[in-house]
């Protein structure tokens, strides 16, 4: 684990060095290839005067809301599909139809139906998360060994107890890997939706921040936004999800 970060650190420094060298050498105009010094100045300034913090908070709050709503919906979908084969058919059809569709392709429709504010971004996130997550959950539910369900019958658990005590814990590895996919997809969807919807001038999230920098011809600002996106991606995937896995499925021996 430690050596992974050592390696990343080494390569990161090397790449940054090459970057800076290229920038300083003047092969490319400063306008299309800004140096790391310029980028970090803009990054620092935007963080300091709060503009960037505001956008980060907005993006994270929308994505948290979207993930929460989509997870609940996906759980409901997967559970109804598990208990009723008619519903399973319907949900399977819906998933097959909607899963391959990128949220951005729906943009014109969303614009007409929901306008272009926070709501529109939320819809794109829910769309990008709901289908893969319910697919994963369904797979998880259906791959529970028969012996577990037989135990439930032995104990005469009712449906809710069965759900709460057996179904959900037993499929947790699938749930968490589903969440990981959901996060990755929704994070990408969020940034592109923010860039496209142009949301509201002052508060439109990180994608909007990048778009605004671009419009004002501020390439170091664009890079500052990109760096923040990378950082948040790394933190969430490497720390939050890794912690979650360690605390749950790895500890319980569900994951090898």
């Amino acid at each position: 684990m430690k050596s992974k970060y050592k390696q990343r650190f080494f390569w990161g420094i090397l790449l940054a060095f090459i970057w800076q060298l290229t920038a300083v050498s003047g092969i490319f105009s400063e306008l299309i290839f800004p140096g790391l010094d310029q980028i970090s100045i803009v990054l620092f300034k935007s963080l300091q005067d709060g503009t960037l913090i505001k956008q980060i908070a907005f993006s994270l709050s929308v994505i948290a809301q979207g993930l929460f709503l989509a997870t609940i919906m996906a759980l409901l979908f997967a559970l109804t599909a598990y208990f009723s084969s008619t519903a399973a058919g319907l949900i399977d059809t819906l998933t097959a139809l909607a899963h391959p569709l990128p949220g951005i392709a729906l943009m014109p429709l969303i614009l007409i139906w929901f306008g272009s504010g926070r709501m529109a971004i939320l819809i794109v996130i829910i769309h990008s998360v709901l289908w893969p997550l319910s697919l994963n959950l369904s797979t998880g539910f259906n791959s529970i060994p028969d012996i577990y369900t037989l135990i439930a019958k032995n104990y005469r658990l009712n449906k809710f107890e069965f759900m709460y005590k057996i179904l959900i814990p037993a499929s947790l590895p699938y749930f968490i890997s589903g969440l990981k996919i959901a996060w990755a997809r929704s994070w990408r969807a969020l940034i592109s939706a923010e860039m496209l919807f142009g949301a509201i001038n002052s508060l439109g999230g990180l994608g909007w921040y990048i778009f605004q920098r671009r419009v004002f011809f501020d390439l170091p600002g664009v890079f500052a936004g990109i760096i923040v996106i990378i950082m948040i991606g790394i933190v969430v995937e490497d720390f939050i999800f890794a912690k979650l896995e360690n605390k749950t499925v790895k500890k319980w021996g569900g994951l090898k």
Partner: protein, 335 residues
Amino acid sequence: MKKYITIIIIFLSVLLLISGCANNEEASQQKITIAEQYGLAYAPVQLIKELNFLKAADPDLEVEWKQLSNTTSIRESMLAGEVDIAFMAIPPFLIARDKGMGWKIISGLSESPLGLMTNREDINSLADFKTDSKIALPQPGSIQHILLSMAAEREFGEVDRFDEQLLTMSHPDAMNALLAGREVSAHFASPPYLFLESREEGIKKILSGREAFGGDFTFIVGVSTEQFYEEQPQNYSNFLEALGKAIEFIDQKPDEAAEILADNYNLEPSEMRDYLSWSRMKFTSKIKGLDKFIDFMAAESYLEKNSYQYSELVFEENLAGEKAILEEGASQNEE
């Protein structure tokens, strides 16, 4: 060992990138690439294309027309050396010039009516906008945004009064949203969207571009990169001549021009004629209001520098004329 291989691969790809860029530049030497946008204000540019004015000047010249959807992407393609000549409003040009982009104005193209259109009965002036009514315009830093800020500054002394309620939308999207009456309460429109919206019932104009600016101003100018100007002076001159011919043609024979351009804009010839001769729709190579834009944008820190020599902004060989004409335009604005 592995490390070295990776390092070699990285260096090789950097080298490939550099040589790739070099090739592009070479290729652009033999032809001229012009970026176009949709809108009535660009009519003379369409005329150059339809009447082959460039081919007439130099039959060997290869002309490429690039359809791009917004000013920002045009600016970026010019920076990448993919576009030689483009047309846009003055503020986006100034923003990039201020950041150090090597480009200048070659000519004025058109003056045009602009208008802030609303679909709300209870809004009759800027003062009636509540904080939750959204105003759609192409993007921050666009001429529409600057004009709105100018009006806000004049009427309320707050430049950013409406900044919290702006929505970035392309003109067609904004028009649809305005007509549907959802989400958007107002749209800062340019022709032909302005004309289409003004024909709809329940939609009215509460602010014109002229009122916002406080005088006449050039809506669209032609711009080119210093690189193109220096490396291909002949092509530059040819283009300038063609542009001059096209502007004169539209100005003097609007009916004939409407006939030619109707198909291009997907309109009936009669409709096209109405649009081209709409009041305050004017095709001219003169540049008006440049100084005032600079003063305002520098005062509100859209620009860092607040004074420019005319020669820093406009090429020596141009259609707009000497500085005298610029000043004349500016003094008209102050009336």
